[in-house]
């Protein structure tokens, strides 16, 4: 089954701080509950895992991640992740994430659009839970992302200005292998947020809360 997700998460950090995390695939993956990048294959290809536990069901997806585009000029990232779980499920996610300036200075907004395709047991069992579970997972992701971005030292404005020309030169290429290094090099790697496995109880509570709220016409 296919789920389309369009999300906007306001961030209390500057767009540069946020970009430092978003442009680092390992750091971004670490924000996803239960996810980790386990291996870098080449400049744009990685291997990773996502582990989540919902009630008695443990799903461990292992698969490939391809960073399709990374554009410092527009602060946007496109990636494709595809994986399978041993118990007979497979999933893929096509994600486009962009950072926009926030309403006030020093803040930003993480805008994400994802198409998730799920096959096998996860689709069969989880179809009615897939949207609320995805919502809850992404909400946890956003919290972790905020924490990770907040840990990035505020960069000098000059740095971002110097990277801009580089970015323009590569923005038309489908992938920008040089760009991530160029961007993340000046900023020290943010302190990795503790990798949280998807918290089943908290997740179910969020799902339940949203469902109750939905009954009264207001989506959380």
């Amino acid at each position: 089954m296919e789920v389309k997700l369009d999300k906007r998460y306001p961030l209390e950090v500057s767009i540069e701080q946020a970009w430092a995390v978003l442009s680092d695939i390992r750091a971004t993956a670490a924000c996803m509950p239960g996810a980790a990048v386990t291996e870098q294959v080449d400049d744009t290809h990685y291997k990773g895992t996502v582990r989540s536990k919902i009630g008695p069901a443990v799903m461990q997806f292992g698969g490939d991640i391809e960073v399709k585009a990374l554009d410092p000029a527009t602060k946007s990232m496109q990636m494709m992740a595809k994986g399978a779980d041993k118990s007979g499920s497979s999933a893929s996610m096509d994600l486009a994430a962009t950072l926009e300036p926030g309403e006030t200075a020093g803040t930003s907004v993480l805008v994400g659009a994802a198409t998730v395709l799920v096959s096998g047991k996860l689709a069969q069992f989880g179809n009615r839970l897939l949207v609320p579970v995805s919502d809850a997972m992404l909400a946890q992701f956003a919290d972790n992302f905020r924490a990770a971005a907040a840990a990035v030292p505020v960069a000098a404005p000059a740095q971002s200005a110097t990277t801009a020309p580089t970015a323009e030169g590569t923005s038309h290429a489908p992938t920008a292998p040089a760009a991530p290094a160029a961007v993340s090099a000046p900023a020290p790697r943010p302190a990795p947020a503790p990798v949280k496995e998807l918290n089943a109880i908290a997740l179910m509570w969020t799902v339940f809360k949203n469902w109750i709220a939905g009954l009264f016409g207001k989506r959380a």
Binding site: M1, E2, A84, K86, S87, G88, S89, S90, L117, V118, S119, G120, K121, A123, Q124, F125, N127
Partner: protein, 804 residues
């Protein structure tokens, strides 16, 4: 039979508990104590367990299968893939419909949950761990789920193994995803009727894919004895003898060394007719390992991969006079058969007996065409509690008659009475060539209309429709169906070339008790009870001392099994005929004992009386004893007989069903206020069991019409393969059933019985739809697709502008 009035005779008759007696079911004592013996109860020494690796994709190429990690799992002894079965030529197997089906996916998967590999381990847990450790790499292919899409010129080729084959088992193939086109009736005559008819109606309708979902899933324990070269397989099979033949043909083991045992079966409903990959793999594994191997499906596997039913996209047309006399019928069906054509039908009928679709009506010209198509769904197309495709046929004609009535503004009972085959027309040959044996539709219809107060119900409905403040819509569904069961005459019906007879072998023991062995197999129908009753009446032996055995191919005579309501029409006749052979011999012995001529004897309940002197008699018990020590010269000792019954015709049970529903205009909730079911199954053997069969069939019909569905998403994921989603009604949802009957015996059946278990399923489904659609009929609605869940009905309320 003339009922005796003498109290002494009555007492003797009642003591037999023969035909017509509501004898309590002999099976229930063990079932209600949890002492049934099902396949999963069978545990053999050294038994291994098998589990199956299944595809998460509906259509994909297999790039690689890595079993190395699985083989490292403690307890795993073997992993088999198509590559391992290839040298044995068992990676594909023939289906009952003349196609082939992959046993384990050979380079490509064609539906979600298709079998890709099997893991055999020393315990069930290790097998499951092994399944998780098998790594399969897939390359996804475009998925085709809609049969109309499948037939487009540029549709993906689903069956690459059939590339270049322009003809199949049932004639030419016109497209790479086309299986067959089958027609019946006279097209020219039907077209002529339509060309000149003053009134015509047409309606497209879809009968969705459903699953029989028996309480017990499928499974087997295969046990090959390498020393004796014998294969015994305990299996949930509705047709053990046919399976034995298939296993022998596939494995090369002589049929005499193959034994198939169907123990207690927890419901079949057509789901347990076919041979599934799991059986084949368990048998191969047992032969390879020399150990017993058990395979038991879980619920998700059962609903996802074993035989489904229906999935017919139907276009019906009726031609009629302005006053509602039907002149012609045309039907065009596109049938979604899934990935492999594995329908379980008599060989010559790829659409089963769908051409019973002229129903209970005298229609002079008719034609139907059924086109079978491959899609990326599980194979199947079995008769889910019905005779082959009869449910679809009855649904079509009953819905079409309603559509015609609505167009003409006629009452739905009146239009039926006008078109019924009249009592005096039987035996009646339909435009499709069926010879209906007997029926009295008008009497039955009037009985139902009187019982429910039909006129008052219609008046109430009219008042409800006139009231804009009414909170509920009211619908009345009426269905007057005829079924064709008891497949079947071997001149028309065979399975893999074996005629569809059935058999019985009876032995009367010296002390007057008896054993009857049958070629059928009960799955809840109560054969042990009812077969004994037929024998009791035929031979005057009490039911209590008659053992009925079936399901073990090493002891039972060859028979085609139990499905399509064929047990009573075919095997029931075989018992009566075998009993009559014994009866004839018993008469000879009685004449010898009484020293009179055979013609000087009268049969009376349980004994032969000398004509005019009933004090001189010999009971069947006396005769049984004599059969083993004092027979007339020239006669063999013993008292036994075998009969293989090849029916001269099908039987045609019928019924009149009426349903009243109230639909909540705010929520779409549809409540069944009343359901009245009159069935005519000819001679009634055990009225209590008939009642139970009808309750069960109505409840399953309710499930199909009101809740069961197998929805697929665009990727071919089946979103409804657990009992969380798939509707099995319990006492909470099930409405109250009112039952009634008339008795019109079959003239060609030895005891006049026609078969009943499936009529309530076949008849009730269109009745529910008719009732729901009838609630909207005044708003111009002529069709609503099942299941009629609250949400779907509410959508119609909104569409029709009557939602509150």
């Amino acid at each position: 039979m003339n009922a005796p009035t003498d109290p002494k005779l009555l007492e003797r008759k009642d003591a037999l508990q023969g035909m017509g007696d509501s004898r309590l079911r002999k099976e229930d004592a063990r079932f209600i104590q949890g002492k049934g013996n099902y396949v999963d109860d069978i545990k053999l020494p050294g038994m291994m367990h098998m589990d199956i690796v299944r595809s998460p994709y509906a259509h994909a190429r297999i790039k690689s299968i890595d079993k190395s990690e699985a083989l490292k799992v403690p307890g795993v002894v073997a992993v088999l893939t198509a590559e391992d079965l290839k040298p044995l030529k068992l990676h594909w197997m023939p289906t009952l419909a003349g196609d082939v089906a992959a046993v384990l996916a050979d380079g490509k998967v064609h539906f979600q949950m298709q079998e890709v590999a099997v893991v055999i381990a020393t315990d069930r847990y290790a097998a499951a761990d092994g399944v998780e450790a098998v790594q399969v790499e897939y390359e996804e292919l475009p998925v085709v789920l809609d049969p109309y899409e499948a037939l487009k010129p540029d549709a993906p080729v689903l069956r690459e193994d059939l590339a270049g084959k322009t003809s199949g088992a049932h004639g030419p193939r016109e497209h790479h995803n086309h299986i067959f086109t089958w027609t019946a009736g006279d097209k020219a005559a039907a077209d002529a009727a339509f060309a000149s008819a003053p009134v015509t109606v047409s309606q497209h309708m879809f009968y969705p894919r459903v699953h029989p979902c028996p309480l017990e899933t499928c499974g087997c324990v295969a046990s090959f004895d390498p020393v004796r070269g014998e294969l015994t397989t305990f299996m949930t099979s509705q047709a053990p003898h046919v399976v034995r033949t298939v296993v022998s043909l596939l494995s090369g083991i002589p049929e005499s060394k193959v034994r198939i045992v169907s123990p207690d079966i927890g419901g079949g409903f057509g789901n347990k007719v076919g041979v599934y990959p799991g059986y084949v793999c368990a048998i191969v594994a047992s032969i390879v390992l020399g150990k017993p191997v058990k395979w038991i499906e879980d619920r998700v596997e059962n609903i996802s991969s074993t035989a489904f039913a229906r999935d017919y996209h139907m276009d019906g047309e009726l031609a009629a006079t302005p006053d509602g006399k039907i002149l012609g019928l045309r039907v065009d069906v596109v049938a979604d058969h899934g990935a492999f054509d594995a329908c379980a039908d008599p060989t010559k009928f790829p659409a089963g007996l769908f051409h019973i679709c002229s129903g209970s009506y005298d229609i002079p010209a008719a034609h139907c065409s059924v086109k079978g198509v491959y899609t990326n769904k599980a194979p199947g197309g079995v008769a889910y509690r019905c005779s082959f495709r009869v449910t679809e046929a009855v649904y079509l004609i009953e819905r079409m008659v309603d559509v015609l009535a609505q167009k003409l503004g006629m009452d739905k009972a009146e239009i039926r009475a006008k078109n019924f085959i009249r009592k005096e027309q039987f035996p009646y040959t339909s435009a499709f060539g069926f010879e209906y044996d007997s029926g009295d539709y008008h009497t039955a219809l009037n009985k139902v209309l009187d019982a429910v107060g039909y006129k008052a119900l219609r008046a109430e409905q009219a008042a409800r429709r006139a009231d804009p403040n009414a909170t509920h819509l009211m619908g009345i569904g009426l269905v007057t169906f005829t079924e064709v069961v008891g497949a079947g005459p071997s001149k028309m019906c065979d399975i893999l070339g074996v005629g569809m007879f059935d058999s019985c072998e009876i032995r009367i023991h010296p002390t007057g008790s008896a054993i009857a062995r049958m070629g059928t197999i009960t799955q809840g129908q109560g054969h042990q009870t009812t077969y004994a009753q037929i024998l009791a009446t035929e031979l005057g032996i009490p039911s209590e001392v008659i053992q009925v055995e079936e399901g073990d191919t090493s002891t039972a005579p060859y028979g085609l099994g139990t499905y399509g309501s064929r047990s009573t029409p075919v095997a029931g006749a075989a018992i009566a005929m075998a009993a009559r052979k014994i009866h004839a011999k018993a008469r000879k012995i009685a004449a010898h004992l009484l020293e009179v001529g055979e013609n000087d004897l009268d049969w009376e309940i349980d004994r032969f009386n000398v004509k005019g002197d009933p004090a001189r008699h010999k009971t069947m018990k006396d005769i049984a004893w004599a059969a083993y020590n004092n027979v007339p010269a020239g006669l063999e000792m013993g008292l036994e007989a075998v009969h293989y019954y090849d029916p001269p015709n099908f039987t045609y049970p019928f019924g009149i069903y009426l349903c009243v529903v109230d639909i909540d205009r705010a929520t779409g909730e549809t409540k069944v206020r009343r359901f009245y079911a009159l069935d005519d199954c000819g001679t009634r053997i055990n009225p209590m069991i008939i009642e139970g069969q009808i309750h069960g069939g109505l409840t399953e019909g309710f499930a199909v019409a009101m809740g069961q569905q197998m929805p697929f998403d665009a990727q071919g994921n089946l979103l409804g393969n657990t009992l969380m989603d798939y509707f099995l009604p319990t006492a909470v949802e099930t409405p109250h059933w009112e039952t009634d009957h008339t008795v019109t015996p079959s003239p060609h059946h030895p005891i006049g019985a026609k078969g009943v278990a499936e009529s309530p399923h076949v008849g009730s489904i269109p009745t529910f739809t008719a009732a729901v659609v009838d609630a909207f009929a005044h708003l111009g609605v002529t069709d609503m697709t099942m299941p009629h869940t609250s949400y779907r009905v509410w959508q119609q309320l909104v569409k029709s502008g009557v939602a509150l």
